[in-house]
């Protein structure tokens, strides 16, 4: 297999108001200072998904109307990306690693890059892609055959391409957006449900040469290796499938690590299984571990700590603290000190949660409910999570956190399984079941990030699979799997505006401006592993139509 590329150069980057400047590392650190752009996966390194743009407000959002629509044509797996906007140019990815550069004001295509579809992907982890990173005049893309590719941001031409690890061997891939920090581009890897040993890699942005690798499972002689029995460390999962955050002042990258494998069968990997289900803080220059906080020692439920790491500076017990918040897939939100990894707080996001009784004042799990071997048991939430990866937003003016949650359960049977390198390694089976408390379904709430105190909640019939976007206009945007993209009032949670996009929302909305006009853009298109599980509880969702498009909205002029 090798990679040939087809590049269709439609036009050079057109004049779109503000001349395109190279995105320097300094601009990435100062991204909040240029709200006209959406420069990194989470908008800013702190993963707030908040924009100070305030042209669209609670008072005028009724006048928000579609300005352009773009259809990628590749609907398999849904539209899961976060668009990136740099000086009037939007970069969008689709399943099967297609990249489009669009005029952000009109939706017109500037260039296309289609990565050659692998003949057979040996990876379990889907054809989807969640976005690119930009920096140093380039656009960086991870692929579903585990390559990292650098493109010229102006032309879409390939600059370099590195095969991180042979997909036919590892069963692994890159579905998350990379993260550019200084002169390195950092990328995670999937394969947490496979017999694979996870890692995070950094490559030199200019040359593509590997700068460092952090193994998410320590090897022989390294601290933490003793938390894996026998040879289990070689096949222990520990994926790094989402995108990290960065604190430039502390010079630390925060990355969430996924579950250990086999997912439901832990007898062959006795021990805490570091650094699975942990947030790790790494030196972005060397990949050296500064600290870790493990949320779930010896996970046997297929939870993950892989989701976004939100950097918060908040008062806690009378002291200003530098914190990092991470929602575990198991439905608990953990807050730790981001200077040293010390536990600060934890709170449950969902009502249907029975794998533990709680978390004590030191951050230790209380009352573990582990599935016994070969006996089906009910575990809540389901493998799809107390929430999915779709990201939360933090609104600094009110200090509120906006996050989805899912009420559902499953029957799990733990089974003994031998690892086979690069192949699925679940160690059990599962079937989704309705909620045991209240009604099954999704919700989206406004929370105090430290206490979990809920200010309001918006309920949806189905899991909500879109990320959130908070703005200085007093609005929070998100959407549902029935295709409605909507704006809620930050203070009350009241729905102020809604637009039917024609397919369920599974990506991440952003906002930006061109020539002084604020745009709100959202991917639309239902798909993904979790969307594939929904029919087990809601049979009608099987027929929810797929799509892959971007909608851009602005106030009617």
């Amino acid at each position: 297999m090798y990679v040939l590329i087809r590049i269709v150069l439609i036009a050079g980057v057109a004049a779109v108001g503000i001349p395109a400047q190279t995105v320097t590392p300094e601009r990435l650190v100062q991204a909040a200072e240029e709200p006209r752009n959406w420069l990194t996966y989470h908008g800013t390194y702190n993963a707030h998904r908040y924009s100070p743009l305030d042209q669209v407000t609670a008072a005028n959002v009724r006048r928000l109307a579609p300005v352009w629509t773009f259809q990628t044509g590749d609907v398999q797996g849904g539209m899961q990306c976060t668009p990136i906007v740099v000086d009037g140019v939007m970069y969008v990815t689709t399943s099967w690693n297609k990249v489009f550069a669009l005029d952000a004001a009109t939706g017109r295509v500037l260039w296309r890059y289609f990565y050659e579809k692998p003949k057979q992907i040996a990876s379990l982890y889907g054809p989807w892609n969640r976005g690119v990173a930009v920096g140093h005049g380039m656009v960086f893309l991870g692929t579903n055959d585990n390559h990292l590719v650098a493109l010229d941001a102006k032309t879409g031409r390939e600059v370099w391409n590195v095969n991180v690890e042979d997909v036919s061997r590892c069963g692994c891939s890159i579905t998350g957006a990379p993260l550019v920090v200084k002169d390195n581009v950092i990328a995670g890897v999937t394969a947490g449900d496979s017999a694979h040993r996870g890692y995070i890699n950094a490559f030199d942005v200019k040359t593509g040469r590997q700068v460092w690798r952090f193994w998410t499972i320590p090897g022989p002689g390294e601290p933490g290796h003793e938390t894996w029995a026998g040879e289990s460390w070689k096949y222990g999962g520990g994926s790094s499938w989402m995108t990290g955050s960065y604190d430039a002042e502390l010079n630390l990258v925060y990355w969430g690590i996924g579950n250990p494998a086999a997912d439901f069968y832990g007898h062959s990997r006795k021990g805490d299984n570091l650094y699975t289900d942990s947030v790790v803080a790494l030196d972005p220059d060397t990949g050296k571990l500064k600290w870790y906080f493990q949320q779930i020692p010896h996970d046997v439920w297929d939870w993950d700590a892989a989701y976004e790491n939100i950097l918060l500076d908040l008062d806690h017990q009378g002291q200003r603290r530098k914190l990092v918040l991470n929602a575990n897939k198991g439905g608990y939100v953990f807050v730790v000190d981001r200077t040293d990894g010390k536990f600060v707080a934890a709170w449950p996001l969902v009502e249907n949660l029975n794998w533990i009784q709680g978390v004590d004042k030191d951050g230790k799990l209380v009352g573990r409910n582990e599935p016994p071997l070969d006996q089906p048991v009910t575990i809540c939430p389901s493998i799809g999570g107390g929430r999915s990866w779709n990201h939360a937003a933090f609104h600094p003016p009110t200090g509120r956190l906006f996050m989805t949650g899912i009420e559902w359960c499953q029957t799990v049977t733990s089974r003994k399984e031998e690892p086979k390198e690069g192949e699925a390694y679940f160690g059990g089976e599962f079937t989704l079941k309705p909620a045991i408390k209240g009604e099954s379904g999704g919700h989206f709430g406004a929370y105090d990030p430290l206490t979990g105190k809920r200010h309001w909640i918006y309920r949806s019939k189905y899991p909500m699979l879109a990320s959130a976007l908070a703005t200085a206009g007093g609005l929070v945007f998100t959407g549902d799997v029935e295709g409605e993209f909507f704006a809620l009032d930050i203070s009350s949670g009241r729905k102020l505006w809604s637009y039917q996009t024609g397919s369920g929302l599974r990506g991440s909305p952003i906002t930006y401006s061109v020539n002084g006009r604020q745009y709100i853009a959202t991917p639309s298109g239902l798909g993904s592993a979790l969307a594939g599980l929904m029919p087990q509880i809601w049979p009608e969702t099987e027929h929810f139509q797929p799509a892959s498009s971007i909608f851009a909205f602005a106030l009617m002029e």
């Binding site: 297999m1 090798y2 990679v3 797996g77 057979q120 992907i121 040996a122 379990l124 982890y125 889907g126 054809p127 031409r157 390939e158 600059v159 370099w160 391409n161 590195v162 095969n163 991180v164 690890e165 042979d166 036919s168 061997r169 590892c170 069963g171 040993r197 200019k206 040359t207 593509g208 040469r209 590997q210 690798r213 193994w215 090897g219 070689k234 493998i383 192949e423 699925a424 679940f426 089976e429 592993a529 594939g532 599980l533 029919p535 087990q536 049979p539 099987e542």
Partner: protein, 260 residues
């Protein structure tokens, strides 16, 4: 009643337990059913149901494959697969029951003659493939379908004399299949490696100066000079970085033709 799979198989004049039918079903399964988060490789479960190790009636499998399953994301394949192809997939899924394929007696008998894993071969395999080894061979070479296509495919190495293999590993510059080139680009950077492709517009070169190799695309207007090199693009220090025992293991593995 004769199972549908048998009828289909008979129509195609094959037996569902023939290893060739199962192999055909396996290939179709890998391409259509094992991808993404569906049934997983060899039906070992993705986030769709596990098929391996479960008992099924062939008629049920045939119906679900042809018509899809109303209560799940399982799509109908009747427009994508012919009758015999559906039959082959059914035969393959049935062969996954208890992990044991109903193989013809001759194939069954040949199993007992398979050599058992040799520790030397296994150590060599790890040197070749183990991702924890930053200088693993598979970053550049392919062996029995796995690895990369930067350097030559080494599957055929099994038939070469051990002395030749040793020589090529420790002294790659002495006998070079494809010499390296050095490209200097206008920014001043020098890249030494293996030319992959050249057009009037660009030169594509594997930078083998660090591993994993990086495929660089250099446009003509970026290039200051291209100079042929007298050396091999392969690292020349394996004689130093590998112990004598490791070299032996590696050669033993290459000579084993992948036996396990």
């Amino acid at each position: 009643m004769i199972p549908a799979v048998l009828l289909i198989a008979l129509a195609a004049q094959v037996k569902p337990t023939d290893s060739s039918v199962i192999a055909k079903g396996s290939a179709i399964f890998a391409a259509k059913c094992g991808i993404g988060y569906c049934h997983g490789k060899e039906g070992r479960a993705g986030r769709g149901p596990r098929l391996a190790g479960r008992k099924f009636e062939p008629e049920y499998l045939e119906k679900v494959i042809r018509d899809g399953s109303g209560n799940s994301q399982m799509p109908p394949f009747k427009d994508q697969l012919s009758g015999p192809e559906v039959g082959a997939v059914v035969a393959y899924i049935l062969s996954l029951t208890d992990g044991r394929a109903p193989m013809p007696a001759a194939a069954e008998a040949s199993l007992s003659q398979l050599p058992t894993a040799d520790p030397g071969v296994e150590a060599g395999r790890a040197l070749f493939f183990d991702s924890a080894n930053p200088k693993r061979c598979s970053q550049c070479h392919r062996y029995q379908g796995q690895g990369a296509d930067v350097g030559p495919d080494l599957t055929a190495a099994a038939s070469r004399p051990a002395e030749d293999l040793l020589h090529d590993i420790v002294a790659p510059d002495a006998r070079i299949a494809v010499p390296a080139v050095t490209v200097v680009i206008r920014s001043g950077e020098r890249i030494t490696g293996m030319k992959q492709r050249e057009t009037g517009e660009f030169l594509r070169i594997y930078d083998t100066g660090s591993l994993p190799p990086v495929l660089r695309t250099l446009y003509r207007d970026q290039i200051a000079s291209v100079t042929p090199d007298t050396r091999s693009p392969m690292p020349s220090d394996y004689g130093k970085t590998l112990s004598q025992e490791q070299l032996q293991n590696l050669i033993q593995f290459l000579k084993s033709a992948g036996a396990r």
